[in-house]
């Protein structure tokens, strides 16, 4: 009997290892895989029946006898579950399917085809292919990846670097974590292709310390890649040199900002650097450096495998390709959902996520992490795309969606946004460092019934927007102002009476 069991952090956090230990006491072929992304089913076990994987979950230790006897109620073939079947899985094509550290399985499922193709091109060709795909940075800013690479490719230097931003600090996001735990070779391959494109021979993954499972899998994957000649003195034994290291962050949200990240990687305080110079020209240790998000880089292999045009065919307007939505918070069906850009927000929240887990009405959705705006149900027709969300007064960020039911206290959420900014500020600019502290105080005044403080809060937010060097101070006004504008009843003071 062949059983696939998720070893993603979500599955392990919900008891997958205990299930694995129980299964190991029986005569089964157990393969630990990444997550299929349907996290409400974790720990998910898949039993192969006539060559088709059938889903069972959430599975507990006490379910094991029934699972083995074939009497446990399941969900049918995994890939026919609507949440899964309706996706377009490009970046995540192998996640949850293969043993993450099995390089042969990786190859058998399309892996390394992209790198092979890139090695037949020159650097310029690689950069052109990235440009043609229309891929934009998935870390939040949405800058075209190919154009960033072109700048680094054209810079003259004795050493260039590929730095992968795996700091994934945004609440409501976990796509980076899932791909690193479930298909780490896709990130390694993407970084190698980037290296070929720009002429970099060394890569770093800056991975947050809050992700111990991802750190373990990535470190092991680099070892496997090195031992098999994928990485090293010559990529796949025929390309240029490229090797990489996994570096661990130290619990600072701001280190996800690319220049702060570079300082941190150099062993300094994670203070944001003024731009220019661009990291593309003067990045890690002053050398030309590509800084890209995990998903940007892990999407490169499929672009090179299937061709830029195939990828660019998906999407909406200037938001090309697919986006791994991360559906989080108070939802019935949460997890990772990869789909072409363009789905209306309401369809994601109501149809795909099935509304709230609590069964209460949806009150608000925060899109794009702690610096993203709140959306109310009347804005649910907004299509998921960079320009579309910008036009609606928000941002898609790293594509996390956090759903709140009608018990949410939006003044409390606005206060939290300011508090978070104060805790995580790198301290370089006053509007952020001091403004966020004032923001908390001002919101407390509103809560106490001082309605004049609302105007103060608005002014403060304008100061933060205008006077901050990076998006931590600059975008914290998004959640604060959207909460106050969309939910004035939560900012009406005398809160005890209302509750």
């Amino acid at each position: 009997m062949k059983i696939y069991l998720s070893q993603d952090a979500v599955a392990r956090a919900l008891g997958a290892d205990e299930v694995a230990a129980e299964l190991a006491r029986h005569d089964v072929e157990l393969i630990r895989v990444g997550s299929r992304g349907m996290t409400w089913l974790e720990p998910l076990a898949e039993v192969e029946i006539d060559g088709v994987r059938h889903a069972f979950g959430p599975v507990t230790v006490s379910d094991v006898p029934a699972l083995l006897a074939g009497t446990l109620d399941g969900h049918g073939p995994t890939e026919e579950i609507p949440f899964f079947a309706n996706q377009t899985r490009l970046t995540f094509q192998r996640c949850g399917v293969i043993d993450p550290l099995d390089l042969d399985a990786y190859r058998a499922h399309g892996g390394l085809t992209g790198l092979e193709r890139a090695l037949d091109m020159d650097g310029l060709g690689v950069v052109e292919e990235a440009k043609a795909s229309g891929l934009r940075g998935r870390g939040g800013a949405g800058f075209p990846t190919g154009i960033k690479w072109e700048t680094v490719a054209k810079a003259e230097a004795d050493q260039k670097y590929i730095v992968c931003n795996a700091d994934e600090g945004d609440s409501g996001t976990f796509a980076d974590r899932m791909i690193m735990e479930g298909d780490p070779f896709s990130l390694i391959e993407g970084m190698a292709i980037a290296g070929v494109g720009v002429g970099a021979t060394k890569g770093y993954v800056y991975l947050r310390s809050e992700y111990p499972d991802a750190i373990r899998v990535m470190k092991a994957a680099v070892e496997v890649a090195r031992a098999n000649g994928l990485l090293g003195a010559s990529l796949l034994g025929k390309g240029p040199a490229f090797d990489m290291e996994i570096r661990v962050g130290a619990g600072a949200y701001v280190c996800g900002e690319e220049t702060s990240l570079l300082n941190s990687l150099e062993g300094k305080r994670g203070v944001v650097r003024a731009k220019p110079p661009l990291p593309a020209l003067e990045g890690f240790l002053g050398k030309p450096t590509v800084v890209n998000n995990v998903i940007s880089l892990a999407t490169i292999p499929v672009i090179f495998e299937k061709g830029a045009a195939h990828y660019a065919n998906f999407g909406l307007g200037r938001s090309k390709g697919t986006i791994p939505l991360q559906i989080a918070g108070n939802v019935k069906y949460g997890g990772l959902y990869e789909i072409a850009f363009g789905l209306p927000l309401g369809e994601i929240v109501n149809d795909i996520a099935g509304g709230t887990r609590s069964g209460q009405p949806v009150k608000a959705v925060q899109v794009g992490g702690p610096l993203g705006a709140y959306f109310a149900p009347h804005q649910f027709d907004t299509p998921f795309g960079y320009e579309e969300f910008d036009g609606a007064g928000g941002l898609i960020g790293h594509a996390g969606l956090t759903v709140f039911d009608d018990t949410a206290d939006m003044l409390g959420m606005a206060r939290f946004a300011m508090e978070f900014c104060a805790v995580e500020s790198c301290g370089k600019c006053t509007p952020c460092r001091i403004g966020a502290v004032r923001g908390v105080e001002t919101i407390d005044r509103i809560a106490a019934g001082d309605m004049a403080a609302k105007e103060l809060l608005t002014d403060l937010c304008e100061t933060m927007t205008d006077g901050s060097l990076c998006a931590l101070g600059g975008f914290t006004p998004y959640p604060v102002m959207s909460a106050m504008t969309l939910f004035p009843e939560d900012f009406a003071g005398a809160r005890e009476a209302a509750e």
Binding site: A9, V10, A13, L14, G267
Partner: protein
């Protein structure tokens, strides 16, 4: 673990050994500080000068880096560190009430250690389990779908 007890101040030889394992790296300071945490559960004051010497930087710079990052501490914590997620997606699933209840029961506050020295409670902002919260982390182990009973069980298993 012996290294936890403040009585066993790490000796300079052990500190030097940790440092030397990383000096060949580009940007070795964070790896060194992580290794100090791993070996001694804090960055001992006695390590600051040797680190500064090895990397050819000032003591103040080393102190500045240690103090910038939430992960590094200069004094030993409780025997176990429990990090409870305070971020938005966990709040949407009741993390605030959960944390309040647990802190009250343990008689401590954020960053505080239980009176018996067993557990230090730290806030954390997202563990990437945002569809399966509330979430927490005990040492290197993550747990999700917490309610008060489950979190208290996890914490008491840690010895509080």
């Amino acid at each position: 673990m012996q290294a936890n007890s403040p009585a066993s101040a790490p000796d300079l030889g052990a500190i030097q050994e940790v440092i030397e394992a990383y000096t060949h790296l580009e940007g070795p300071l964070l790896p060194i500080l992580h290794a100090m945490m791993e070996a001694f559960d804090h960055v001992p004051e006695d390590a600051v000068q040797p680190i500064a010497d090895a990397l050819n930087i000032g003591r103040a710079e080393v102190h500045g880096v240690i103090s910038f990052y939430h992960d590094f501490r200069t004094l030993p914590a409780g025997r176990h560190i429990v990090k409870i997620c305070r971020a938005e997606a966990c709040q949407a699933l009741g993390a605030n009430g959960l944390a309040d209840a647990v802190l009250t029961r343990l008689g401590t506050s954020w960053h505080g250690t239980t009176p018996n020295g067993a557990v230090t409670i730290e806030p954390v902002y997202c563990l990437g389990l945002c569809a399966n919260g509330p979430a927490a982390m005990i040492g290197d182990k993550v747990v999700g779908a917490l309610d008060e009973a489950k979190l208290e069980r996890v914490i008491s298993e840690a010895g509080a």
